[in-house]
């Protein structure tokens, strides 16, 4: 991956003969991207609170900073400064390790998804495939957190997470396969380049819908937020997670949604292609539009039940995903 990223940057005309200098440059650049992505995720968290408040006829955060923009920061500072409580019957090492594992996973994901198309941290042949491999890990880590906390609500949540995994991961991968089939590549750059004329959302409308629904489930957004169903499971896998670990969970929650928006726009909405405005702006605008749509869904629908999610996955999503794959092969393959 590192070599890929070196090549990626060198390919953009930033080459040096000293490998150490290059390595240093990559690290600095990666940290920079991380900070920028986190900032977007942060703004996104604020937008979510504001939009939901508007829909619910409330004001939303409006005390900390201008328009409450610093509210999330205050929350995170508060959470980090709290006592790290670990439940007595938890598997201590796993319970502490798993959220950090999740954070590092998120960092990898952030580095893989480009927001500056010409300056991608890690650009290599299988970059899109790598994203989905990493993305597939995150429910497993949730599962580990849930089981290690030794809480019965978390246990129920863990059981649900496995069932959920069965219902949405398969259609998602099948739809992504159809994109790979049409674009003939696993690389983000070439997938986006293929969409410079027509978006894949127009070429593969069924695939777009299936992928969007599966992505909602992947991001644990309503109506698929069964794992932290607060009305029955208190907070599901997060029930015993507190202080800095909860701060990590909050950060991950917002980052994941921003990432989800980016992924949907890269795979189906033409990525950074667009007239007049610079590519980065297009990408971020698309990601935000998707994310705002996800927020509106959150504010307006009730939660599905696990048996219904399974039904949706196996009766609707998987057949539709297969139809989409066949169509992609017949029409554009």
């Amino acid at each position: 991956m590192l070599i890929g990223s070196l090549e990626g940057i060198m390919g953009n005309g930033l080459s040096s003969h000293n490998p150490l200098v290059m390595l240093l440059f990559v690290v600095i650049y990666a940290v920079g991207v991380l900070i920028i992505m986190s900032a977007f995720a942060y703004v996104f968290g604020w937008i979510e609170r504001k939009i939901i408040a508007k829909i619910q006829l409330r004001h939303g955060p409006n005390q900390v900073g201008k328009y409450g923009i610093l509210q999330n920061l205050a929350d995170i500072v508060k959470l980090i400064s709290k006592e790290k409580a670990v439940p007595s019957n938890a598997d201590r090492s796993l319970f502490i390790l798993a959220p950090q594992l999740m954070l590092s996973l998120m960092v990898f994901l952030i580095l893989l998804v480009p927001i500056f198309p010409s300056l991608q941290v890690a650009n290599f042949g299988l970059s899109m495939l790598a994203i989905f491999v990493l993305l597939g890990f995150s429910p497993l880590i949730l599962f580990v957190i849930a089981f290690s906390s030794g809480n019965k609500f978390a246990d129920l949540s863990a059981q649900r997470s496995v069932l959920m995994l069965m219902s949405y991961e398969i259609p998602m991968i099948i739809t992504v396969a159809s994109v790979f089939l049409v674009s003939n590549s696993y690389n983000i750059q070439s997938i986006v380049a293929m969409q410079s004329k027509t978006w894949f959302a127009i070429m593969l409308p069924i695939g777009f819908i299936v992928f969007f629904i599966a992505m909602l489930a992947e991001l644990e957004r309503p109506p698929f937020d069964l794992m932290e169903a607060d009305s029955e499971l208190i907070a599901g896998w997060l029930t015993d997670v507190s202080a800095p670990y909860y701060a990590i969970a909050l950060f991950i929650d917002y980052t994941r949604m921003f990432l989800g928006g980016l992924l949907i726009s890269i795979l189906f909405l033409g990525g950074w292609n667009g007239p007049i405005l610079p590519p980065t702006v297009w990408l971020i605008v698309k990601a935000f539009v998707i994310a705002i749509f996800i927020i509106i869904i959150r504010a307006s629908t009730v939660r599905m039940r696990i048996d219904r999610v399974l039904r949706l996955g196996w009766v609707w999503l998987i057949p539709l995903a297969l139809i989409n794959l066949v169509m992609a092969y017949v029409l554009f393959g």
Partner: protein, 364 residues
């Protein structure tokens, strides 16, 4: 799969008060739910024995903090029956108007919390509460208080209605009626909502009668029983009240019955304003109460928003010798174990919420 026992409550995001549920689940399916109650027990029935009649309404209002006036009216009704006080003709109409407004407020609370129980975090809740607030404003206009009104006096009310109360009420109801249609459409046009509500927590007609549930829960199971119809008090007969009955007995029916009742309440309020005679609705000031109790044993029942409220009172001349309240929430809670059997854990609180319980009323 082995059976897991989970302990929900007494402090939990969605128990509608302090109720502890010990739930045995087999995977995701409920085997048994055992409600543990008594966290809010204050011994109101005993407190009443040590106080004069008209010192007690404030205690009664705290029994049902979602619809305080209904419980107040139930108690004052019992005292009136014991002392043999006739309610003034205009006061009957005003009481009906205020009680139906209270019922609207109470049912709006339910419509809001239905969303929350199903995982629609607070959108419906906030909308419904905005409207509930408008109704509470009306009640404040009429009684001077937003929540605990203590506005019932023997034979009437504590003060007369303000001049433009009728106009304000009609305006508010007009807006509410429109929005209520929107709320119902917002929820019911969502296939997930229907999926979660239809056929969940079914209470059959025979079981409903056996378990003794009352109110909207009973009427959603297809039983035509409403105290306002079967044992009319005040002017419900003159206003041609008709009870609302649905037959499915599931969560959706319980939800819809309440919405139908809200439309009926609005109709009643409008009709009451039209038919209301001129005159005075003030009751006896508390200080001047002299009548001694005439009837030794009194049984009074009223249709409070949660079901049939009933007071059995053994009256002494100046205070109650014994008082026993049939709390609708308490009896309706008894149905929980029956209707949650075999349901999913995710539906537990949807069912719990659809019974519309107030824990203070359960524990007394």
């Amino acid at each position: 799969m082995s059976i897991t026992r989970i302990n929900i409550g007494p402090i939990h995001p969605s128990t509608h008060g302090v109720c502890r549920l010990v739930v045995d689940v087999d995977g995701d399916t409920i085997v048994k739910v055992e409600p543990h109650i008594g966290f809010l027990h204050r011994g109101v029935e005993k407190l009443v024995e040590n106080r004069m009649y008209m010192q007690c309404p404030p205690y009664m209002e705290k029994l049902d903090y979602v619809a305080p006036m209904s419980m107040d009216d139930l108690y004052v009704g019992a005292v009136e029956a014991a002392l043999g006080v006739e309610v003034k003709e205009r006061a009957k109409y005003v009481r009906v108007i205020l009680l139906e407004l209270q019922r609207l407020a109470s049912h709006l609370f339910l419509i809001g919390s239905v969303g929350n129980d199903l995982g629609l975090m607070f959108t419906m809740f906030m909308w419904a509460f905005k409207d509930r607030d408008l109704i509470l404003k009306l009640l404040e206009e009429a009684t001077g208080q937003r929540m605990f009104y203590v506005n019932m006096r023997l034979g009437g009310l504590v003060n007369t209605l303000p001049k433009d109360f009728e106009e304000h009420t009609i305006d508010t109801l007009e807006g509410l009626e429109k929005r209520l249609k929107k709320y119902q459409a917002f929820l019911e046009k969502n296939p997930i909502f229907i999926e979660r509500m239809k056929g969940v927590g079914v209470l059959k007609k025979e079981d409903a009668i056996d378990l003794g549930v009352t109110g909207p829960v009973l009427r959603a199971s297809g039983v035509r029983y409403d105290v306002r119809k079967n044992n009319p008090y005040y002017v419900y007969r003159e206003l041609n009240f008709s009870e609302k009955v649905l037959y499915d007995g599931d969560n959706l029916a319980r939800f819809r019955v309440r919405i139908l009742e809200m439309y009926e309440s609005m109709r009643l309020i409008r009709a009451a304003f039209e038919k209301m005679p001129e005159g005075d609705e003030k009751g006896m000031p508390i200080r001047l109460i002299t009548p001694k109790a005439k009837n030794r044993i009194v049984v009074v029942n009223r249709e409070v928003p949660r079901g049939e409220g009933l007071i059995y009172m053994v009256a002494d001349p100046e205070k109650a010798y014994r008082l026993s309240i049939r709390a609708p929430s308490f009896i309706n809670l008894a149905a929980l174990e029956h209707i949650t059997k075999g349901a999913r854990i995710a539906d537990l609180f949807a069912i719990f919420g659809s019974l519309d319980l107030v824990m203070a009323d359960v524990d007394r």
